[in-house]
């Protein structure tokens, strides 16, 4: 094919050399309606002595509509090919029709003297690739090449005016999987869209020629040339960046930083996550989140994280749409997400889209890959404590694929190194992921996601703890037309834990806790006009929580069975939002989400005397409600506003305001989330939490979008955040409202981020100044904390500095260095001591009046890839490094305790020494 094509060029050229140029004066008349090139040419040839030369395959999609009456040839051809990419050249009686460029029918200056025909410049590379995939183009183009002009819609030579809609999928050429979050934009007029989670996009463009620029995370930047005639589809296949030791990319696309209306949104792809050294060498999604500005945690060995002053339970953690209640394994040393399956994560901390709700601080979306639609592949990973397996492949080629991941721990060797008293303990976890995606037809896709995790630990054959997440989501994506599509999903989320002990026969017990959440949602996106993109939908969650069952175990047990009654509630919302591009420079997103929350029977609710502390003494009476009865309804709208103004191509200002409500609360009075904390639904005595946030940001890209800078400031208010009375009992408490108090909070801060996204040296530096305060000043709550004044929250760390850098020596070797500094978190310290109960004891200061020493840690890792030959059976990767390189003994906490009657202060450090790690991955 290629050779023929080249030859034809030469042939055309040689032909024309022999003829002198002359004007063809004969006038032509004709009437063509949707004529093919063959019809058109033969008609003209029959009316004249002209002979046409052209490559029929290039013109197969051209339809000519033309009425001419006694016009010269030039005018006829000019009209026929106006607004197309076709050109004509007339030499004597020969007419050459070409695509892309006109054949020059005159000799180049000095041609006969110096040049030989063999050296005629021909744009070979264009030609070479253009042939690829030609057959497919006829149906729905799978545009794989940059230099071909793809004709979209029904072609016509009529002048193109008005707009048309282009839609399609952006897919990975290797796996066939949709590429979410890739950005398609054109230069003139300046407009762009991003693909949704399935890689689907739809955009309105003026008819005519465009160059589409496509930028996707982890993919090579690419362009496609189109000629848009009418509404049509274009699927674009993009190639992965082959050099796998590539630059860190934090954002879905390079100019989204500046151009999107969203702010406080960060996306990390798995490659970036894998470059961040983790404690046991296994890439950790949640540890990566902690490197982002505005995200803190109370310390190591905790996977709870705090976003812009929010509590750890104020983050909605979604794995492919499934709510994960406990995102940690093994005392928080591992995140519950298998790094071999995760595609990317996205954290929304201020511009939370209206389709999300139910949590106050942030949404963390974790997206797993779709299975490879073309080939069976897999990988095996081996670390110090865990092993991983991942398999994927097509079930029906190009239509249905699966992906499966399993991870298990073999950590008991570590426990056997412990002192005798704990040698017989055991701790283990495993998790499984299954994803199936199926393309029913062009308009319908189905996605099924399943997740199961189990954690077990046992303390020296005494008390056994276990917890488990179970999730299943089914999504159906349907395109109604080019302007409207929907994603409808239904899912079940389960979380449970149990504690049991049988060491003491009389006290042997079994404690169980269970959350079941069934949810349904329908999300629609409607492209109203080029300027308006409307999203709307409904969602509903039915909660059923068994807050605790406490049962005797064995016949000797005297444990009284205790069952805290099941709680039920329905949380529903409808939302609508509009992204409105007012002008090229100014765009606004506005949305409203209306929440309706109902606490449902059967339930018995205590009624308390108004304006008195809730306690056993103030219970007036209680009301019993029947099953299904609505006991209490809270309803409130949430508003989401954000706007962007482009000061110039590389600099934009953004502002946002949003409000959120939360109806489910984590009850914990320990510093970090522990596996046995309980979730409580809002009821008539426990109000929903709500909060609002205003934020402002400046975004700048420079050096061809390779350096990104941003500054964001925010101010946030929290209402009805739950804190606890001294000595509160939270587990198996039938009257939790008597032990909790409402606090109010405020948080503010400034976040600075500087990123370099490409080059041998890449990475990011961030600095955050933030404060978070709480206060409890309601005298009716029974107990004032710090006399009703504001006090710093546990996770209030004013200064945080993060550096993540990656240097690539060669394609096979790269090193990563991470540095983290933060102010020590607040603690409550003893201010006086006294003797009581036979020993020295301490009196504590006001809550959180002091701080632990500042935190600093640096981690280092070396990533070694096997050779890069594409065609080999397996690809190997080694990952070695050191966590906490300097071995700094960062205080996790400080505490004062009495031992043998004397008070001593202690500082507890987790990971107090440099911890080496090694990880081996094999991909097949």
């Amino acid at each position: 094919m290629i050779k023929i094509y080249l030859l034809s060029f030469c042939f055309l050229f040689i032909l024309q050399v022999g003829f002198a140029q002359q004007n063809n004066a004969k006038l032509i008349s004709g009437n063509f309606q949707q004529a093919t090139i063959a019809q058109f040419v033969s008609d003209i040839e029959s009316k004249t002595d002209l002979h046409f030369y052209y490559d029929a395959s290039q013109f197969d999609s051209l339809k000519i509509t033309l009425q001419v009456n006694n016009q010269p040839l030039d005018t006829v051809l000019e009209k026929a090919f106006r607004n197309t990419d076709f050109h004509f050249s007339v030499s004597s009686r020969q007419v050459f029709l070409t695509k892309g460029r006109a054949v020059v029918t005159e000799l180049a200056l000095g041609f006969m003297v110096a040049n030989t025909p063999g050296k005629i410049p021909v744009h070979r590379p264009n030609v070479v690739i253009a042939e690829y995939n030609e057959e497919k183009d006829k149906k729905m183009p799978d545009a794989t090449t940059e230099n071909k002009v793809y004709q979209i819609g029904i072609k016509t030579n009529e002048p193109l005016s008005g707009n048309a809609i282009l839609s399609g999928y952006i897919r990975d050429i290797k796996s066939g999987e949709g590429v979410a979050g890739s950005r398609i934009f054109i230069g003139e007029p300046k407009t762009g869209v991003s693909t949704d989670q399935f890689g689907y996009f739809t955009m309105t463009l003026p008819r005519g020629k465009h160059i589409l620029n496509i930028r996707a995370m982890g993919m090579r930047d690419t362009r496609r040339q189109i000629n848009l005639y009418t509404d049509g589809k274009l699927n674009i296949e993009v190639q992965e960046q082959i050099n796998s030791l590539k630059e860190v990319k934090i954002s879905g696309d390079k100019i989204a930083n500046v151009r999107s209306t969203q702010m406080g949104t960060t996306k990390l792809d798995i490659k970036t996550i894998k470059e961040i050294p983790a404690v046991f060498g296994e890439a950790d999604v949640l540890k990566a989140v902690l490197t982002l500005p505005g995200v803190t945690s109370v310390g190591e060995a905790t996977t709870g994280f705090n976003v812009r002053g929010g509590a750890a339970d104020e983050n909605l953690i979604l794995l492919d749409g499934a709510t994960i209640y406990n995102p940690a394994h093994f005392f928080g040393f591992f995140a519950a997400f298998n790094p071999d399956l995760v595609k990317d994560i996205q954290l929304y901390k201020s511009s939370i889209p209206e389709k999300f709700g139910g949590r106050l601080s942030s949404v963390l979306e974790i997206t797993n890959r779709e299975g490879n639609k073309k080939n069976f592949t897999g990988s095996i990973g081996v670390g110090l404590l865990t092993g991983r397996l991942n398999l994927e492949g097509p079930i029906v080629s190009d239509k249905t694929s699966f992906i499966f991941g399993a991870r298990t721990s073999y950590s008991d060797w570590l426990l056997h190194l412990l002192p005798e008293a704990y040698k017989h303990s055991s701790a283990s976890f495993n998790d499984f992921n299954l994803g199936i995606s199926h393309q029913i037809d062009d308009k319908n896709n189905l996605y099924l996601t399943g997740y199961l995790s189990n954690d077990k630990f046992k303390l020296n054959s005494d008390t056994a703890y276990a917890y488990s997440n179970k999730n299943l989501v089914l999504k159906w994506k349907h395109n109604y037309n080019d302007k409207l599509y929907s994603v409808i999903s239904a899912g079940i989320d389960r979380y449970q834990y149990s504690i049991s002990s049988s060491a003491n026969a009389v006290n042997a017990f079994d404690l169980g806790y269970h959350i079941a959440q069934n949810n349904f949602r329908a999300d629609f996106t409607y492209l109203l006009s080029p300027k308006h993109t409307i999203s709307f939908g409904v969602s509903s969650i039915l909660y059923k929580i068994d807050p605790g069952t406490f049962d005797p175990v064995g016949t000797a047990s005297l444990v009284a069975q205790q069952i805290v009654p099941t709680e039920k509630a329905l949380e529903s919302a409808v939302y609508i939002g509009d992204k409105y591009d007012v002008t090229d420079k100014f765009s606004v997103s506005a949305g409203v989400r209306y929440n309706i929350y109902s606490y449902l029977g059967p339930q018995t609710i205590d009624n308390y005397a108004p304006n008195l502390p809730k306690g056993p003494a103030t219970v007036l009476d209680s009301t019993t409600y029947k099953s299904g009865k609505i006991i209490h309804t809270y309803q409130a709208p949430d508003f989401r506003l954000s706007a962007r103004y482009m000061l110039n191509d590389n600099l934009s200002l953004k502002a946002g305001y949003n409000t959120l409500h939360q109806f489910i609360h984590l009850l914990t009075n320990s510093t970090s989330i522990s596996p046995t904390d309980v979730y409580k639904l809002s009821d008539p005595n426990i109000k929903p939490e709500h909060g609002d946030q205003v934020s402002l940001g400046i975004f700048n890209n420079s050096k061809s979008n390779t350096i990104e800078m941003s500054v964001e400031v925010y101010y946030k208010r929290l209402r009805n955040y739950l804190d606890y009375k001294s000595g509160a009992v939270l587990l198996l408490n039938q009257h939790v409202e008597q032990d909790v108090i409402n606090t109010q909070g405020k948080a503010y801060g400034a976040e600075f981020l500087l990123k370099k996204t490409t080059g041998k040296l890449n990475g990011f530096i961030s600095y955050t100044y933030s404060r978070t305060f709480l206060k409890q000043d309601d005298p009716n709550a029974g107990e004032l904390i710090n006399k009703g004044n504001y006090y710093a929250a546990n996770y209030d760390k004013p200064n945080i500095f993060n550096f993540t850098g990656n240097y690539r020596f060669t394609h096979r070797y790269s090193v990563s260095l991470d540095m983290t500094y933060s102010t020590g978190r607040p603690i409550t310290l003893p201010i006086a001591k006294y003797e009581y109960g036979g020993s020295d004891r301490v009196l504590y200061s006001d809550r959180n009046a002091y701080r632990i020493p500042d935190y600093f840690r640096s981690d280092f890792s070396l990533n070694i890839e096997g050779n890069h030959r594409v065609h080999q059976r397996t690809h190997n990767t080694w990952n070695v490094g050191v966590y906490n390189l300097t071995g700094r003994q960062n205080a996790y906490s400080t505490f004062f305790t009495e031992q043998s009657g004397v008070i001593s202060g202690y500082k507890l450090s987790v990971f107090a020494n440099p911890i080496p790690f090694i990880n081996y991955n094999i991909r097949f």
């Binding site: 002192p419 510093t671 003797e835 200061s845 809550r847 400080t894 911890i915």
Partner: protein, 393 residues
């Protein structure tokens, strides 16, 4: 109960961490309080035993001595029917009154007037009957002896318990000394000057609590009291423990649990944060003043048990708390002629005590003197008393 077990997670977390983590002494920059707060400790004893109330004030954390008794206060126990009983200060900060034998249908509280004219009262509390201790048992595990107690209330009325104990044990020093210095010379040790057999006593320093609130019957089964390592000197000869049991109201129990949480269990990974300790004592004039302590009114029930070394596994070996060795002390050291006995053993007080005489007849180390050792290896009275308690058997 699982709360106790939960503590193990913490310890476990720590130990798991011990592979990675560490616990280091920590002394923050001077944390001081300008105030010194009143501390009230004791129980209104409704039975025949004395009521003892201890008053003190808090000191700064950096202070060397924690004891800071408050003298000169006037304390009375008062009923809600206006009965008044006055306590006497028998030593600084230590106020007592003999068996009150109170009417258990009334409620009682404490009134304290300090020397600086501040007046404090505790909330009225009901008088509580304490059921007797059923038994004190022990389990020998691989590395020590776990003592526990059992009790029950047939009326299902008590539910919350607190224990204190006093333990006493007989022990002996490492070496039996047959000689002693009278300041002038070494004389045979008379029987009444023996320093080999002694007794020692200690009191509980942790808060011991038990609850049957989650059980269908008011039964406390094997509540742990103390764990004694198998190598402890306490178990060398004979050990005795006197356990005192107090019934608590649920309020009082919460106070003690909270105090225990705040002062004995803090600082590990999943631990609760420190919280306010709310007692039931208030300054009459200033309700917001911090006063530490909770005054309940109850009986005390006591029980004593003995554990002889012969009842324990025979492979348990006591590890003597000091490094000990015997050495020769010459009247005149061979070679130098140094008068070691006269200089090192005779002058009182002495750091070395003669054990037995020795004579080396020939050779380079010929001479005579006493085998001696340091006083902590010979004199048990350094850390005990020779007086056998009256109850010892």
């Amino acid at each position: 109960m699982f709360k106790m077990k939960y503590l193990q997670i913490i310890v476990f977390g720590l130990l798991l961490g011990s592979f990675f983590s560490c616990k280091k002494p920590y002394t923050p920059a001077a944390v001081t309080s300008t105030n010194s707060y009143l501390v009230v400790e004791g129980v209104i004893n409704i039975g025949a035993d004395s009521t003892i109330i201890k008053l003190s004030r808090t000191v700064n954390v950096s202070a060397v001595v924690t004891k800071n008794p408050l003298a000169g206060a006037a304390i009375t126990v008062e009923s809600d029917k206006n009965d008044i009983y006055t306590l006497n200060e028998i030593r600084r900060g230590y106020y007592t009154v003999v068996g009150l034998n109170l009417n258990i249908t009334k409620k009682y509280h404490l009134r304290i007037k300090t020397a600086d004219n501040q007046e404090y009262i505790s909330d009225f509390v009901s008088a509580q009957i304490t059921p007797p201790i059923d038994s004190i048992g022990s389990i020998a595990t691989g590395n020590g002896l776990q003592l526990y107690t059992n009790t029950h209330d047939p009326n299902n009325n008590t539910h919350y318990y607190r224990w204190e104990y006093t333990e006493t044990w007989q022990f002996h020093s490492k070496y039996l000394s047959l000689y002693m210095s009278d300041g002038k010379e070494i004389i045979p040790r008379p029987a009444d000057k023996q320093v080999y057999d002694c007794f020692n006593t200690d009191t509980s320093s942790t808060i011991l609590l038990g609850s049957s609130a989650k059980l269908t019957q008011d039964v406390i089964n094997q509540a742990p009291i103390i764990f004694i390592p198998s190598t402890a000197e306490k178990l060398e000869t004979k050990y005795s423990i006197m356990l005192r049991q107090y019934a608590l109201s649920s309020d009082a129990y919460n106070f003690w649990v909270n105090l225990k949480k705040n002062t004995e269990q803090l600082g590990s990974i999943f631990d609760a944060q420190p919280s306010n300790i709310n007692g039931n004592i208030h300054n009459v004039a200033n309700a917001s003043e911090i006063v530490i302590g909770y005054i309940s009114a109850s009986q005390v029930q006591t029980k004593r048990v003995f554990i002889a070394n012969s009842q324990l596994p025979s492979n348990w070996k006591t590890v003597y708390p000091y490094d000990c060795e015997q050495d020769t002390t010459y009247y005149a050291s061979p070679g130098s002629g140094y008068p070691a006995v006269a200089n090192n053993l005779i002058p009182l007080p002495t750091l070395n005590i003669p054990i037995v005489p020795f004579v080396v007849e020939k050779g380079p180390s010929a001479g005579s003197g006493f085998i001696a050792s340091s006083n902590e290896c010979v004199d048990c009275t350094i850390r005990g008393t020779k007086t056998q308690p009256a109850y010892w058997k």
